[in-house]
């Protein structure tokens, strides 16, 4: 580019020349993001019921530390992220059964994880974009077989969630009665943290450790504003998650900005619309 036109900045945001070519190159990224959108949305419903948004954030910081460590020693970033988030998820699951204990445990773990991650990145002398990508996301930097892993992990986590869905919801809603009915509370909570860890590890690759909540909490929060049906809420959450994740990538392809701001913005706009719809409906009901 020799002359910078007035609208050059705009072309960074959207520029759909060569779009078809780009689309072919990133089709697996799009599939991975779509699968994550579905699983993240459904998982988010449980995260909201168990009041664990903060835990998601904590797990994602340790996932980042794991990924950074993997980058440093030259192994798979996905594997590093999975190990980091599983360790964090299980630690949180074991340390604090009650919300207050849990939140303090997370508050302690989170800065430690972030600090470790930054240390590993500082020691790493590879490409700078990989460093930045772990915090703010850049799925395009994940390629080849890694993407299959991401999709496989999501599918596995989804199967686990389907299996524990009802007892977990029972336990979130009414722990005493669930225990009396024989729901294995501790086991189910640990399994949930494991599934959460896996999904977070995938989300770290796609939106980055700092923005994981945009796919794991926002879609579910939006769905809960518009419905309280046990079947409709997870469906809507998955729909919103896919819209944000896939929509974000499709838009990002048209510019030269990272995909994260697109995903988080779409997610946020969906939430705003859902709030509005919920408020209008509540008013109509009165």
């Amino acid at each position: 580019m020799t002359v910078l036109a007035d609208d050059a900045w705009w072309h960074q945001v959207v520029d759909f020349s060569d779009y078809g070519l780009l689309l072919g190159l990133v089709q697996y990224s799009i599939i991975a993001a779509g699968v994550l959108g579905v699983v993240g949305g459904v998982l988010g419903v449980l995260v909201m019921q168990r009041d664990m948004a903060f835990a998601v954030h904590g797990v994602s910081e340790l996932s980042f530390a794991g990924a950074a460590a993997a980058l440093l020693i030259g192994t798979s970033v996905v594997a590093g992220a999975v190990v980091g988030s599983l360790v964090a998820g299980l630690a949180i699951g074991l340390l604090g059964a009650r919300a207050r204990d849990r939140n303090s445990a997370i508050g302690v773990l989170m800065p430690f994880g972030l600090g470790l991650g930054i240390l590993f990145l500082a020691l790493y002398d590879g490409r700078a974009s990989s460093k930045f990508g772990l915090l703010t996301g850049q799925i395009v930097s994940v390629d080849g077989p890694q993407l299959y892993y991401l999709i496989g992990i999501c599918v596995f986590a989804a199967a686990v969630l389907v299996a524990i869905w009802r007892p977990l919801l029972f336990d979130s809603l009414d722990p005493d009665v669930a225990a009396a009915r024989g729901v294995p509370r501790r086991m189910i909570s640990l399994v949930f943290m494991g599934a959460l860890g896996l999904v977070v590890a995938v989300a770290v690759q796609i939106v980055g450790a700092l923005l994981v909540l945009a796919l794991l909490v926002t879609p579910a929060a939006a769905a809960l504003r518009v419905s309280s049906s046990l079947t409709l809420v997870p469906f809507l959450a998955a729909l919103f998650g896919v819209t944000a994740a896939v929509g974000g990538i499709l838009l990002a392809l048209g510019g030269s900005l990272p995909i994260s701001p697109y995903i988080t913005t779409i997610s946020f706009v969906i939430y705003l619309v859902a709030r509005l719809v919920g408020a209008v409906r509540d008013r109509a009901a009165v």
């Binding site: 419903v45 019921q49 919801l169 809603l173 669930a178």
Partner: protein, 328 residues
């Protein structure tokens, strides 16, 4: 109500004698719907629940010991006592969620075990947060298969039918389609009773299900429990801090205080001398109208699991000073 004379009316009330010892509640036409004759099935057949020399120690403190209790079909046993005296822990022990430190507890002849779904548990009313993705019927359905893993692939129709039937039984059809977060406390408790009944239990364990309900809903909820045991002979262990809403239903009272307990007919237990002995300090039991009021009952000693902010603590003055509002 005439079966609550406590220490004021002697048990050998002349009114009972001409009818050959028939319970006074039967000699009068009940004006109150709750004044039905309790216990059509009581003391028949083998006990559903049987505890022998049971002792419970939590955190190094013995809550109760030497507890012998047989609960027969159709019996309504009201469990009273100060905060932290081990009322709720009794239910947890029966449910197998905490282990006895001594003695034994048998349910239908076998040692109690965790997750025995022949027992049903109704907890204290707790506010469901708004935005809980669950409607009234979903809450009831959890009583059928909430513990089960995997999606509900088969038998959806049967589940729906059974839920519908119980929802009608507890007269909750009007609001069973609404999100649980929008329901009032009384509506919630009706659905919780439905959730407990939907699995057709053989023993009903209620842990302060009436607290924070108004008088009207207290009566409605206790009527539902009462109907279950009259129609199906399901015995009830009913933990409460106020005996009055369930006094007409109560067959026996189990009163915990001062590390000890008394078990017997309300007339025998809800007396000044009995409770004074139990608490080890002067306690007055008075009857005001058809209500029983316990005055001067101290709360359990420090270290008890008390929740100072809970509504139930208001009934057991920590100072031990008499308060007019202190009911048993």
């Amino acid at each position: 109500m005439h079966r609550v004379p406590g220490s004021i009316t002697p048990r050998k009330d002349p009114r009972t004698d001409p009818r050959g010892g028939i319970h006074p509640a039967e000699t009068e036409l009940p004006t109150d719907v709750t004044a039905t004759h309790p216990t059509p099935h009581a003391h028949r057949g083998d006990p559903v629940l049987s505890m022998r020399g049971a002792e419970l120690t939590l955190g190094g403190r013995t809550l109760w010991s030497g507890l012998d209790l047989d609960v027969h079909p159709g019996e309504f046993i009201t469990v009273l006592g100060a905060n932290g005296a081990g009322k709720s822990s009794l239910l947890k022990a029966v449910l197998g969620l905490v282990g006895l430190s001594g003695g034994e507890a048998r349910f239908q002849g076998e040692p109690v075990r965790r997750g025995d779904r022949r027992m049903a548990y109704v907890p204290q009313q707790r506010v469901f947060p708004a935005g809980t993705p669950m409607r009234g019927r979903d809450l009831v359905a959890l009583g059928i298969d909430g513990h089960r893993f995997g999606p509900r692939l088969f038998g959806r129709g049967a589940v729906r039918q059974r839920v519908e039937q119980v929802v009608e039984d507890v007269h909750a059809v009007e609001y069973a389609h609404r999100p649980v977060g929008e329901l009032s406390g009384g509506e919630q408790q009706r659905l919780r009773i439905a959730q407990a009944l939907v699995s057709d239990p053989e023993l009903l364990l209620c842990d302060e299900p009436l607290s924070s309900l108004d008088l009207h809903h207290q009566q409605e909820v206790s009527l539902l429990v009462d109907r279950r045991r009259r129609e199906h002979g399901t015995p009830v262990l009913f933990v409460t801090h106020d005996i009055n809403p369930v006094l007409p239903l109560t067959d026996r009272v189990l009163y915990f205080a001062g590390g000890s307990h008394r078990l017997g007919h309300p007339d025998e237990v809800m007396r000044s001398d009995t409770l004074s002995e139990l608490y080890g300090t002067r306690v007055d039991v008075a009857q005001i109208g058809d209500r029983i009021v316990v005055l001067g009952a101290p709360d359990e000693h420090p270290g008890a699991r008390t929740t100072p902010s809970s509504p139930s603590s208001a009934s057991a003055p920590t100072t031990g000073a008499p308060t007019s509002g202190g009911t048993a």
